[in-house]
């Protein structure tokens, strides 16, 4: 996966957390996921389709997800609150949408959010590999963002190549 696209997610994570939650994020070095590793408790999933196909998943512990949702909503939101999944899903939506907007020349659609809540679960890998993990550290705790995506060529580049081949 091109580093430009990974950086688009890094910028979007920071922008979303700082704008909606007043929460600065220290983003660690993105890594290729080598195995499933330990599970997480809350996952916000957004699918990508079109010129980029795959998904982005925000992974949290119950504690960090609750704190983040509380900062986002401005009211206390625990995992049993009726708006808990809604808040996490909307944050995932903003991270995905913010990154998508930086994918110049690509026609991409994003899905409505899905949120998985359950102690120590894994979100199974799709056929798309490798998966990139972006570790995020904040004053309310750590979380990570996982990206598994195949990205097509920007239309402008593909068009230029076609024209070059034809001439």
């Amino acid at each position: 996966m091109d580093v430009r696209y990974i950086n688009a997610f890094v910028r979007s994570i920071s922008n979303t957390c700082e704008t909606m939650c007043q929460l600065p994020v220290t983003v660690g070095k993105p890594q290729i996921k080598s195995n499933e590793g330990p599970g997480t408790d809350v996952s916000g999933v957004i699918g990508f389709s079109g010129d980029a196909a795959g998904c982005v998943v925000l992974h949290f512990s119950f504690d960090v997800a609750s704190r983040l949702a509380t900062k986002f909503a401005g009211i206390e939101i625990t995992p049993d609150h009726e708006d808990f999944a809604d808040a996490i899903g909307e944050l995932a939506n903003m991270v995905a949408g913010g990154a998508k907007a930086q994918f110049d020349g690509l026609d991409i659609s994003i899905s409505l959010p899905n949120v998985i809540v359950g102690e120590n679960h894994n979100v199974s890998a799709s056929r798309i590999a490798p998966r990139i993990v972006i570790p995020c550290d904040t004053q309310i705790g750590q979380f990570h963002v996982e990206i598994g995506m195949e990205i097509g060529k920007p239309k402008s580049l593909a068009s230029a190549e076609t024209q070059g081949a034809a001439s």
Binding site: A73, G74, D86, N93, A96, G97, G98, K100, I110
Partner: protein
């Protein structure tokens, strides 16, 4: 002034409601998708609408086109994660008066609302006075 908020996220609708109430707008109705918004529109006749793009059942762009068929003048603001220029142009073509990209701040919501009301000639609310000690 009656404002209708249309977004499938209740958290977002609540955030928007809180901002609008701080600005002095008290008469607020909401809907979780385009279908419900269209039903409520006919019952409530809002003066302004703030509409998300990606929603189940009926998305925001379809809702805007349907509202414009029956009301050419109601101010509509799109509030969405869809930030690409092509999407903004599509929304303008459909009939929105202004556009807010999520994530948004209270200030940016206020700014776009003020711009929209100024353009369309509707009067702004007066923010409530701070409570005295």
């Amino acid at each position: 002034m009656k404002i209708m908020l249309v977004d499938d996220s209740r958290t977002i609708r609540n955030i928007q409601k809180n901002v609008l109430k701080q600005l002095g707008y008290e008469d607020i109705v909401d809907a979780e998708d385009g279908v419900i918004a269209l039903q409520k529109y006919n019952e409530q006749i809002p003066d302004l609408m703030i509409i998300d793009w990606n929603m189940p059942n009926m998305d925001g762009i379809t809702l805007i086109r349907k509202i414009r068929e029956i009301n050419k003048t109601i101010p509509m603001i799109m509030c969405t994660t869809e930030a690409e220029k092509s999407r903004v142009l599509e929304a303008i073509k459909a009939g929105v008066n202004n556009y807010i990209v999520k994530p948004f701040t209270a200030e940016s919501l206020n700014e776009k609302l003020t711009q929209t009301l100024a353009k369309t000639g509707l009067s702004q609310a007066t923010p409530p006075a701070p409570a005295s000690a």
